[in-house]
Amino acid sequence: MRQADVFGEVFAVELIMAGAVFLAVLAAVLYAVLRRRAGAAAGPSERAERPRLEAAYVAVLAAVAVFLVVYTALANHREHRTGHVGAPAGPPAAPEVVEVDVTAFQWCWTFRHPRPGGAGATSGTCRAEEVPTLVVPTGRPVRVELTSRDVIHSLWVPELRYKMDAFPHHTNSFTLTLDEEGRWLGRCAEFCGYRHYAMHFWLRAVSPGEYERWVAGHQAAAGGAA
Amino acid sequence: MTRHPGFLLVAGWALLNGLLLAVLAIYGESATALACYGIAVGLLALAALAVLASSVRGPREHTRYRLPVRPGSAVLPLAAAAGLAVLAYPYGWWLLPIAAALLGLSLALAAHDRAARPRRSR
């Protein structure tokens, strides 16, 4: 779960920095309130500015900004590296990429598994028990091709710390790799109308062997239905 | 140039935006976004020129203020005309003639206010 790992690391770094800044400012405000109150302070300072101190401070701010820009941009690139379908530079031993086509619509989701295997579509109505499940194998990169049938939606799996918008007449793609088996709730994050609040799905990661069985079963089910 | 500080401010600010636009172009943003920012920078450049023109024409504007001595009665029908004009979008174009009539009324009131020639106060 590269996205969740990168998120966790960067969020921790920024949270610590933000916390430190907040505490420093709060301390300054409290100091002023307690020690510079009219009863306690001698009199207001006459000093209108401190240009040299300010210049040094701006330099520090700029350094922090540059660090954050570079650090977070690298994190972003790390998150989106690898896993491209048929990427020639990929290591030969890399596991085969699983492709999933996701179509969002008012107000539910359709999942297709074109490659490899070619399982049929899973969908639902997102009402009561009809919440569709996206089944993926662990350990293999999952390439998600995301689009919409009507308005803009957004596929969000909070536990994975990642979302991507689904546009009509446009396909977005991203790669997920799940390290462990489990089941996570997915939601629609972009407001899409009446049942936006209930547009959920399940993301289920299973072992590669179980995934193969699932695909085979699904193919059979799709064939039987046809 | 320091005689036109207002122009300097707006132009400098437009320039700063132009710089940011150039960096955006280097990052390879889509034409839509670049056009959007480009038009805005153009608008700001025009604003800077307007300030410069006013500054050159009347560098000491602050010593001769133009004071409105009549209420802005022409403004009310003008605002109503604008309101009807946008309401034509949901409710149909038949509102436009009424808006035009109000616009005419507003212009008439403005002309009436302007009829007496402006004079200097003593």
């Binding site: 998120f7 002023a32 510079r36 009219a38 008012q106 007449h169 | 602050h62 009549r70 605002a79």
Partner: protein
């Protein structure tokens, strides 16, 4: 009486213009103070109404799976709350402050383009009425959120006439705001009194100048976006092309980010004035602040794509770069504000309380802003309650606190009477508790996975406790605002003490004239003082003190010799 439209006068011997009385006099006024007050009053009324919508929402969300209102109504509530607060409250109030104060602060007798300013006010009022009238239509008001992305906002998916009224109303109100911004900017650039150089303008006037630059540069993009949306509602095929779907987002956010700073700078300026006045000293680091404001404003024009990180169709690296760079000018503002109070002699009147709370509270909004300006964090936070918390810390815990700081500061100037201090304190403390109780839990809700704009959530989601806390906070906010209204009513019923010209020992020119100021701002009884710096009244007081000391010492020396 002459029918002269305008008359040129010299400020030294200007002739008072006839001040028409009665209702019509107010509604057709060309006096910037009256136009300013009309704007401020109107937006304050709308604020109370939009607050009621928020209370309904918090009521609906207090418990999981509640049925106080259905999705149909809820979607109208959050749409009108958000768009009302942004288009009809925080933005016009900011410009209204500028219309009222900038001519006074730069020593001008009038605002530039008074009729255009008045027209701006009326377009705003009509726009507000048209936008809100959607509630009276059969399908109800617009319901697609304040940014109303197509195709959701196209007629296929949102057929109601309320949406058309929303587009028409926002278009009109925004046009009005642009007119006001031109008038305020032109006043600051071209109507300053003799001797009022650019670098003697008070921080508030500078913040207005930066604000107006953003308005004239960015707000036309909203008009274009609305026109595009209107066209798409007439001809649905427009949004069959992704170009216009994503193009709308670019146009909208090109306006939609700068507007955040339009709703922030004037209140920051107000806070700066309050901190300086109630610290009894000059605002610290004036030049740095002015420069930072302008850089801040320019950068804010280039960050809009950070609202589009998850679209997969924006150059995230660039928008992240510019967004994070904002911390430099923001840091300079904080340096100045902290420097002012750390070297001050603080007096805790109501305006100062709001200004002091603004400093750490807005900081929470700013620091979480860096987080959501970081793409890898925004992929999680975008469109979740984390963003709702962040934006309310910016706009309510920050801007609205600045708004009230300015309101309590300038109320005596505009009305001549003082608001009650005790009620002011109640208002303040209830707002501090209510704000943080309402909005802080939302960070955790968003982090835990609650999307924004959901009418309800399931018991199993585990969002119940935090939402309940947040709804309790909203009730405290409502109590605080009730105290505020009571305080205003008290002043309106003339139960309040007279303020005098300068109740706070102010620094800037508006405190040199009467309360309320005369028609042409300064007159023979209240002439302009010497314009020596950005705080001319402070200079005047110091010079008087120096002279008194000099006289005393001189006398002492003479007596010593004798």
């Amino acid at each position: 009486m002459s029918l002269t439209g305008t008359a040129d006068v010299e400020p030294a011997r200007h002739r008072p213009a006839p001040a028409p009385g009665g209702w019509l006099g107010w509604l057709t006024t060309t006096d910037h103070k009256r136009i300013g007050l009309l704007t401020l009053g109107t937006s304050l009324l709308v604020m109370l109404g939009m607050g009621v919508l928020a209370l309904l929402m918090r009521g609906q969300l207090a418990q999981p799976e509640e049925h106080l209102v259905g999705p149909q109504v809820y979607n109208q509530l959050f749409t009108m709350h958000g768009s009302g607060m942004i288009y009809l409250v925080m933005t016009p109030f900011a410009l209204g402050l500028g219309v009222y104060l900038v001519p006074l602060q730069v020593g001008a007798p009038v605002i530039a383009m008074p009729r255009a300013t008045l027209l701006g006010y009326w377009l705003y009022v009509l726009g507000a009425a048209i936008m809100l009238s959607g509630f009276a239509t059969p399908q109800g008001a617009h319901s697609d959120g304040w940014f109303s992305y197509p195709p959701m906002a196209a007629r296929t998916y949102t057929p109601g006439v309320g949406s058309d009224l929303w587009i028409a109303g926002v278009f009109l109100a925004t046009t009005g705001v642009i007119l006001m911004a031109w008038a305020v900017l032109w006043t600051a650039l071209r109507k300053r009194a003799e001797g009022m150089t650019m670098l003697r303008m008070p921080v508030f006037s500078w913040s207005m100048a930066a604000t107006c630059l953003m308005v004239i540069g960015a707000f036309p993009a909203l008009l274009a976006a609305l026109a595009l949306l209107a066209a798409g509602r007439v001809e649905p095929a427009v949004f069959d092309s992704n170009l216009w779907v994503i193009g709308y987002q670019h146009l909208f956010w090109f306006y939609g980010h700068p507007v955040v700073y339009v709703m922030f700078f004037p209140y920051l300026g107000a806070v700066a004035e309050v901190l300086a006045v109630f610290s009894g000293r000059r605002f610290f680091g004036y030049r740095g602040t002015v420069f930072a404001l302008l850089v801040f404003a320019a950068l804010s024009m280039s960050v809009w794509g950070h609202h589009m990180f998850t679209t997969g169709q924006a150059t995230n690296d660039y928008y992240s770069l510019t967004s994070i760079l904002l911390l430099v000018p923001a840091g300079v503002e904080y340096f100045a504000m902290l420097g002012t109070i750390l070297g001050g002699r603080l007096v805790f009147r109501t305006p100062m309380l709001f200004a002091l709370a603004f400093v750490p509270q807005f900081l929470i909004g700013g620091l979480t802003g860096i987080m959501v300006g970081t793409p890898v964090l925004d992929y999680h936070a975008q469109d979740s309650y984390f963003v709702v918390a962040h934006l309310h810390y910016v706009l309510f815990a920050g801007s609205a606190f600045g708004l009230f700081a300015g309101f309590y500061l300038w109320f005596p100037k505009a009305t001549g009477v003082l608001l009650d201090e005790r009620l002011g304190r109640w208002h303040f403390w209830l707002l501090v508790v209510g704000t943080n109780l309402t909005f802080f839990p939302m960070f955790f809700l968003g982090y835990a996975g609650m999307p924004r704009r959901v009418v309800t959530y399931l018991d199993g989601d585990g969002f119940g406790l935090l939402n309940l806390l947040s709804s309790c906070g909203a009730a405290v906010l409502a109590a605080g605002m009730t105290v505020f209204v009571v305080n205003l009513a008290r002043a309106a019923l003339r139960r309040a003490p007279r303020a005098g010209d300068d109740p706070w020992r102010g620094h800037t020119l508006e405190w040199a004239t009467s309360s309320p100021p005369p028609r042409l701002n300064f007159d023979a009884a209240h002439p302009l003082p010497p314009l020596t710096s950005e705080a001319p009244l402070l200079d005047l007081r110091r010079r008087a003190a120096d002279e008194a000391r000099g006289a005393r010492e001189g006398r002492g020396a003479r007596e010593g010799r004798a």
